[in-house]
C-alpha cells in the first residue's frame, strides 16, 4: 500500500516536471514559431516605444536570451532548492518550493498561490456539495421514474445546464438576483474563519452557477449509471431475495452506480481546485483561475508555470486519492 502510494507520488512528480517543461516549450516555442523574437517578448513588458537598451535590460532581467534548457534548469533549481530574488535594492530569500516572481506584479508566485487558493477552495467545495446533493438526487429520481414528466423535465433542464456557458448563466443570475431583485449581496470573498455567514451568503450565487453546470452533468451521469445498475443481474438477485425496493435502491443500486461517479468527481474536483477560470472570472473572484488567466493574458511566465504546476498537482493528487478510495469502495480493485 505504502509502496503503491510512493510509486504513484513519484510518477506524479515526474508528470509535473514534464508538464512544466511542456508549458515552458509552449510559452517560448510556439511564439517563436509564429515569428516572435525575444525583443518582442521583452516589449510586452516595456512601456511605449521601448529603446533597444530597455529591451536588452528586460531580456537580461527575465533571462529571455538564455538557452531554453538553462531557463528551465533555473526554474527547476529554484523550485527544488529555493532562490533569491533581486528587487534592485535588496535580495529577498525565496525558499523552496520557489516558483519565481511574477513578471508583472513582482510578487512571489508561491505566495500568490497560497493567497488565492482559499478562494478557489471555498468556491469549489461549496459548489461541489450542492451539485452532488442536487445532481445525484435528481439523477436517481429520474432513473427510477424513467420516462415520467419529472424525468423529462429534469433531463431537459440538465441538458440546458450542460450546454449553457457559465459566463452566460453567471452574468444572467448576477443581473437578476443581485442587481434587479437584490436578493443577494454582490458576490465577494471573505474569509470563512471571520464570518461564516457572510462567507456563504456572498458566495451562494457562484456556487449555484458552478453547481448548475456540474449538477446537470452529474444528474445525467447518475441517471445513466442508475439505469445501467438497475438492469444488472445482482439487482434482480436482491429483489429475488425479497428485499424491499428501498433497500434494493439505496444499498444495492446506489452504491454501485455512484462508484464510477467517484472517478469523475475526483477529476472534476482536482481540475477545479486548480482554478475555476470561467466562474472566477464571471464573478470577479480572485482565485487560482483568475490568477492563471491573468498570467496567460499578461505573458507572465512564472505565474503561468506556477498555476499550471499547481493545477496538475491537484489533478494528480486527486487521481491518487480516487484510486485509493476506489479500493475501499470497490473490493474488486482493492490493493493488497
Amino acid at each position: 500500500m505504502i509502496a503503491f502510494i510512493l510509486r504513484r507520488l513519484g510518477g506524479a512528480v515526474l508528470l509535473v516536471f514534464i508538464i512544466s517543461a511542456v508549458t515552458f516549450l509552449i510559452f517560448f516555442g510556439l511564439p517563436k514559431l509564429a515569428g516572435t523574437t525575444t525583443d518582442d517578448m521583452a516589449a510586452r513588458f516595456a512601456g511605449k516605444s521601448p529603446t533597444p537598451e530597455a529591451l536588452a535590460a528586460i531580456k537580461e532581467r527575465f533571462g529571455f536570451d538564455q538557452p531554453l534548457a538553462v531557463q528551465y534548469g533555473n526554474f527547476v533549481k529554484a523550485a527544488v532548492t529555493g532562490d533569491t530574488y533581486d528587487t534592485g535594492v535588496e535580495k529577498i530569500d525565496c525558499p523552496a518550493p520557489c516558483l519565481g516572481y511574477s513578471f508583472r506584479t513582482n510578487q512571489s508566485v508561491t505566495d500568490q498561490l497560497v493567497d488565492r487558493f482559499p478562494i478557489t477552495l471555498s468556491l469549489v467545495v461549496g459548489a461541489a456539495v450542492i451539485w452532488l446533493l442536487v445532481g445525484v438526487s435528481i439523477g436517481v429520481l429520474s432513473a427510477l421514474r424513467r420516462g415520467s414528466l419529472f424525468d423529462r423535465a429534469a433531463m431537459m433542464i440538465a441538458l440546458a445546464g450542460v450546454s449553457l456557458p457559465i459566463y452566460f448563466t453567471g452574468l444572467l443570475s448576477l443581473a437578476f438576483v443581485v442587481h434587479q431583485w437584490g436578493l443577494l449581496p454582490p458576490v465577494s470573498y471573505s474569509s470563512f474563519a471571520d464570518n461564516p455567514f457572510k462567507w456563504a451568503s456572498a458566495l451562494i450565487l457562484p456556487w449555484i452557477t458552478l453547481a448548475f453546470l456540474y449538477a446537470a452533468m452529474y444528474a445525467r451521469l447518475t441517471r445513466a449509471g442508475m439505469l445501467e445498475t438497475m438492469s444488472e443481474d445482482y439487482i434482480r438477485t436482491a429483489r429475488a431475495k425479497g428485499l424491499p425496493e428501498r433497500t434494493v435502491i439505496t444499498k444495492h443500486a446506489l452504491r454501485a452506480s455512484l462508484t464510477p461517479l467517484l472517478t469523475v468527481f475526483g477529476l472534476d474536483i482536482g481540475l477545479l481546485f486548480g482554478g475555476a477560470v470561467l466562474t472566477e472570472r464571471t464573478f470577479s473572484l480572485k482565485g487560482l483561475g483568475s490568477l492563471a488567466l491573468d498570467g496567460v493574458v499578461g505573458s507572465d511566465l512564472p505565474v503561468v508555470l506556477g498555476t499550471v504546476v499547481t493545477a496538475s498537482l491537484f489533478v494528480v493528487v486527486a487521481n491518487l486519492i480516487v484510486d485509493l478510495l476506489y479500493g475501499v469502495v470497490d473490493p474488486r480493485v482493492r490493493h493488497s
Partner: protein, 584 residues
C-alpha cells in the same frame, strides 16, 4: 500611450441579452431626472461641486493596475489615479475645459525655467512639503526618483523620456550604481532646487515633466526597487492603508501630513478610497450604474450593454458624458510593404469611411477623423482631406482609386494582409469594412486577427513581422503622452522612433521633411510656431498616405449621482480623480 489593450479586450465578452435585463432594471420611467445633472454636464464644468467630507469612494477596474509605482506607470488613468497619493514637480491643472491640458506647478513653485539653449531646466521646490511619515521632501528625492527610471529592467512600464533626453552618459540607474552622485542628468545645488541637464535642446520639457508620475519624490532609503509599487510612500492627500495587492486591489486613507493649502489640484474628501481590481467588466458596469461603484478607473467608457441601457434611459443618460477620450483609431499603411505612394493612395481612395465610422458605433462612438492629431491637441488644425472625405455617408471613390492603381502600375489590383486585434469587435469591423471596400478595386486584403496582449509588441509593433508577412495595413489606436503635436505625433512619424519591437511608427515613415521639422521644433520656443510644424507633419503623414485617418473615439462615461466634483479632464481624457468626493 499604449492603447489600453487589457481594458478594451474585456468588452468583447458582452452578453447581449443582459442589456435587456438592465434596461428594464434602470427604467424608472415616471421618475423625474432629479439626480442627474444632465447629459454632457461634466464636460466643461463641474458636476455636484461640494467640499463635503467623509464616505467611501469606490473605484474599480476590470483588469489590473499596471503598477502602483509612480515611476513605473504609463496609462493615462494610472497617472490620473497616482495623484491621489503622489505629488510631482508639475501636474495637470485640475480644471475642466482647455485649462486642464496645461502643466501647472505641484511640488514646484512654478514651471521649469529653461536656459537660453533649452538644455538646462531649473525647478524650485516649495518648502515644507512632507511625506506621509512627516519627513520633508527634498530635491535629492526627486533626483533619485528620476534616476530610478534609468533602470529599465526594474521600472519596465513607465515612460523612458528621462533616460532618453537627460545628459547622463552611461548611467545605469541607482540599482546597479548605488552612488547617486554618479547621476549627472539631474543636479541639486541645494535642497530645494532641481536642475535637469539635457543632451539636446527640448522646448516641451515642462510638458514632459508634467505628464507622468516620474517626478514624484521617492526617498532612497524607502525604495524597494521592483516592489516599491506595492506600498509607495505617499506625498499626496491619501496614503496606502496596507500593501496594494496586485489583481485584487487596495485601500487609500487620508494622509494627515498633506496640506490642502499647498495643493490646488487635489482634495481630501472621502474618508476612504477603495480600489477593486479584476472586477468583471459587465459586473463593473452593473455596479457603476447602481452607484455601488463610483468610478470606472480605466476611464475608457462603459461596455456595450451598459451603453444601451444608458442611451435608452433618460435618467441614466442624465448621469453620462460622451466626450472625445483623446484616442484616434487610425490605420497605418506600412510604407516598406506598400512602397508606392499611388498604391497607398488607391487604398485610401477606396476606403468606405462611413462603414469604418459605423464600426466604431457611429455618433456615440466617435467623430470621423480628418487630421491624425485628435481635436483636443493644442493648436491642432482640422487639415485637408487627402484622397478621402471625412463625411458621414462617404463610401470612398472607386474612380480615383482605379486611377491611382493605374498610376501605381497595378491596374489589376494587388494583395496584402491586414491585421487587427481579434478580441476587439470594433477593429474587426473596420477590417471587414476595408476589406469589402478595397475589394471593389481588386485590392485584396487578407484579414488576420491577433490577441491584444501581443499585438503592439509582436505584430503591429514589429517591423520585421510586418514585412515578413506582407502586412500592408493594420488597425491602431493612439493617445498622446501630452496634448501637443509632439506628444501625439513624434512616435508615429520620426525616423528615430522606428523600433524593432513595440514600434509605433508602424508606417515606417522616414521622410526628410518630417525629420527636419522635428529637429526644428526642439528649439522653437513659441508654442504656436511649434504647432505650425506639427500641423505640417500631420499634413505630410496624410499626403504620403502613411496613415489613414478613421475615428476620434468618444467615450461614454458614467458618473453616479452620489459622486461629487466630477468633471471631464482633457489632459487625461476622462474624469479627474484627485478632487472627487462622495455623498453617502
Amino acid at each position: 500611450m499604449k492603447s489600453r489593450p487589457r481594458i478594451l479586450a474585456a468588452s468583447s465578452a458582452g452578453v447581449v441579452l443582459l442589456g435587456l435585463g438592465l434596461t428594464a432594471c434602470g427604467g424608472g420611467g415616471d421618475e423625474k431626472t432629479a439626480d442627474g445633472a444632465g447629459f454632457e454636464a461634466a464636460v466643461g464644468k463641474v458636476v455636484n461641486p461640494s467640499d463635503k467630507k467623509g464616505g467611501t469612494l469606490r473605484m474599480a477596474i476590470s483588469s489590473d493596475i499596471e503598477s502602483t509605482d509612480p515611476g513605473d506607470m504609463y496609462y493615462a488613468w494610472s497617472t490620473n489615479y497616482v495623484r491621489l497619493y503622489s505629488r510631482m514637480l508639475l501636474t495637470y491643472a485640475s480644471k475642466p475645459g482647455d485649462e486642464g491640458r496645461k502643466p501647472s506647478p505641484d511640488l514646484a513653485e512654478g514651471l521649469g525655467v529653461p536656459s537660453a539653449d533649452k538644455k538646462t531646466w531649473t525647478y524650485k521646490l516649495r518648502r515644507g512639503m512632507k511625506y506621509e511619515d512627516g519627513t520633508e521632501i527634498k530635491a535629492k528625492d526627486i533626483k533619485y526618483a528620476v534616476a530610478r527610471t534609468f533602470d529599465r529592467a526594474v521600472l519596465r512600464h513607465g515612460p523612458s523620456y528621462f533616460s532618453n533626453v537627460l545628459d547622463a552618459k552611461g548611467y545605469k540607474g541607482p540599482y546597479k550604481d548605488k552612488n547617486l552622485d554618479n547621476f549627472k542628468g539631474v543636479e541639486t545645488p541645494d535642497d530645494y532646487t532641481v536642475v535637469f541637464k539635457l543632451k539636446d535642446p527640448f522646448t516641451e520639457f515642462n510638458e514632459l515633466v508634467n505628464f507622468s508620475g516620474q517626478t514624484a519624490p521617492v526617498p532612497q532609503d524607502k525604495d524597494k526597487g521592483e516592489r516599491y509599487g506595492l506600498h509607495p510612500i505617499s506625498s499626496g492627500p491619501y496614503k496606502w492603508e496596507k500593501d496594494y495587492q496586485p489583481g485584487k486591489g487596495g485601500t487609500l486613507v487620508p494622509n494627515s501630513n498633506w496640506d490642502q493649502s499647498t495643493d490646488t489640484n487635489r482634495k481630501q474628501l472621502p474618508a476612504r478610497i477603495e480600489t477593486i481590481a479584476g472586477l468583471n467588466a459587465e459586473e463593473l458596469d452593473n455596479q457603476l450604474l447602481k452607484g455601488q461603484i463610483h468610478v470606472d478607473l480605466a476611464g475608457s467608457g462603459v461596455q456595450d450593454n451598459a451603453r444601451k441601457s444608458i442611451l435608452t434611459d433618460p435618467k441614466l443618460k442624465a448621469q453620462a458624458d460622451n466626450p472625445p477620450g483623446g484616442f484616434h483609431w487610425y490605420n497605418p499603411i506600412d510604407m516598406k510593404v506598400v512602397p508606392n505612394l499611388e498604391c497607398r493612395k488607391a487604398m485610401v481612395w477606396a476606403a468606405d469611411r462611413d462603414a469604418m465610422w459605423r464600426a466604431y458605433g457611429g455618433d456615440v462612438g466617435g467623430e470621423i477623423a480628418t487630421s491624425i492629431m485628435p481635436p483636443d491637441v493644442e493648436g491642432r488644425e482640422k487639415g485637408t482631406d487627402y484622397y478621402t472625405k471625412a463625411e458621414k455617408g462617404y463610401k470612398g471613390n472607386v474612380e480615383e482609386a482605379k486611377k491611382s492603381l493605374a498610376a501605381c502600375g497595378k491596374p489589376q489590383g494587388f494583395e496584402t494582409t491586414m491585421i487587427y486585434r481579434e478580441d476587439r469587435p470594433k477593429e474587426k469591423g473596420v477590417a471587414i469594412a476595408l476589406q469589402q471596400s478595397l475589394a471593389r478595386v481588386n485590392i485584396k486584403l487578407n484579414l488576420k486577427g491577433f490577441p491584444a496582449n501581443t499585438y503592439t509588441s509582436d505584430q503591429a509593433g514589429s517591423p520585421s513581422f510586418m514585412q515578413k508577412n506582407n502586412v500592408g495595413i493594420g488597425t491602431f489606436g493612439w493617445l498622446s503622452d501630452w496634448p501637443t503635436g509632439y506628444g501625439y505625433l513624434w512616435a508615429l512619424s520620426d525616423k528615430a522612433a522606428i523600433l524593432p519591437s513595440g514600434n509605433v511608427n508602424i508606417a515606417q515613415i522616414d521622410d526628410p521633411q518630417i525629420n527636419e521639422a522635428w529637429k526644428k521644433s526642439y528649439t522653437t520656443v513659441d508654442a504656436a510656431e511649434r504647432a505650425k510644424l506639427y500641423n505640417m507633419i500631420d499634413d505630410r503623414l496624410r499626403s504620403q498616405a502613411a496613415y489613414m485617418p478613421n475615428v476620434y473615439a468618444k467615450s461614454l462615461l458614467f458618473r453616479p449621482s452620489t459622486l461629487n466634483n466630477v468633471f471631464f479632464h482633457k489632459g487625461f481624457g476622462m474624469y479627474n480623480y484627485s478632487t472627487l468626493g462622495v455623498t453617502q
